[in-house]
Subunit: 145 residues, 2 copies
Amino acid sequence: MENNQLKLENQICFKIYSAEREITKLYRNLLEELDVTYPQYLVLLVLWEEKSMTVKELGQKLFLDSGTLSPMLKRMEGNNLIERRRSLEDERMVIISLTKKGEDLKVKAQCIPSKLLENLSIDMKELKNLNQILSTILAKIQQKI
Amino acid sequence: MENNQLKLENQICFKIYSAEREITKLYRNLLEELDVTYPQYLVLLVLWEEKSMTVKELGQKLFLDSGTLSPMLKRMEGNNLIERRRSLEDERMVIISLTKKGEDLKVKAQCIPSKLLENLSIDMKELKNLNQILSTILAKIQQKI
DNA sequence: TAAAATTAAATTGCATACAATTTAATTTTA
DNA sequence: TAAAATTAAATTGTATGCAATTTAATTTTA
């Protein structure tokens, strides 16, 4: 009696794991021009929507903790993309905001989503479907935590 | 005119990125008993199917290069899960095989796929759907490379 | 067949991830 | 209100990932 469940090809999570890395590689090419990594690009996406935000809030949006964010934000500060300053009301908090350079990168980034989708060459119906299923999964996992 | 494409919530790839990490966290709990990480578990899955394999073949199955595999396999060797030996026919190649301990872990691993699916609590129809979409995406990306 | 090209792993360097701990500030509570 | 508990970031330590380079072995080619 074979155990098919332990076969690699039947591992749905392996597909997610592989797809994540392959897609990140596609992004790497597109983001080269902006000189940011994919996680850094996500930080920029958040800050382009909301001018400033604490490290904690950023972490809640991106599902990342300070162990990941602190050094990454330090690198982004070093590259002059963001500024970090302690909150005056509560000195425990660090407020992250965009520099002029970080703000201006948004223009260059406009084309990235469409280019990425073009690279993926997936049709809109499937895309919406995928989006919906992943949202469901994420919500279910998050709910458990 | 708002640019919705640059909004985080519309980033399908962010969902894949997040889902990958959340699922890996679920695995982390399940794999604790086996004392392996998720990528190490993937190596074991492959070796449980085929007794032995070169580093290159392993990399082709898992989409990982020697920069990732070499140190990981060294750690697994250190934990007595696998053995590494140079091929006699071609000394460039390193052949990876399971130790008794690595082979025996398969029994303990039997329950993991079902437990994981239970944690995900996604219905079979959605699962098959997700599987199909991700396979399509992976195939399209792979084809480009 | 000897030099050039190719190939398989390993190594180097950098950037995530994340658990666990530490530090400093704030809030709660006895 | 002073000690205890909580909270936000940073730090520490470990394990991926991956591009680029190096090393050693094999194959190709001039």
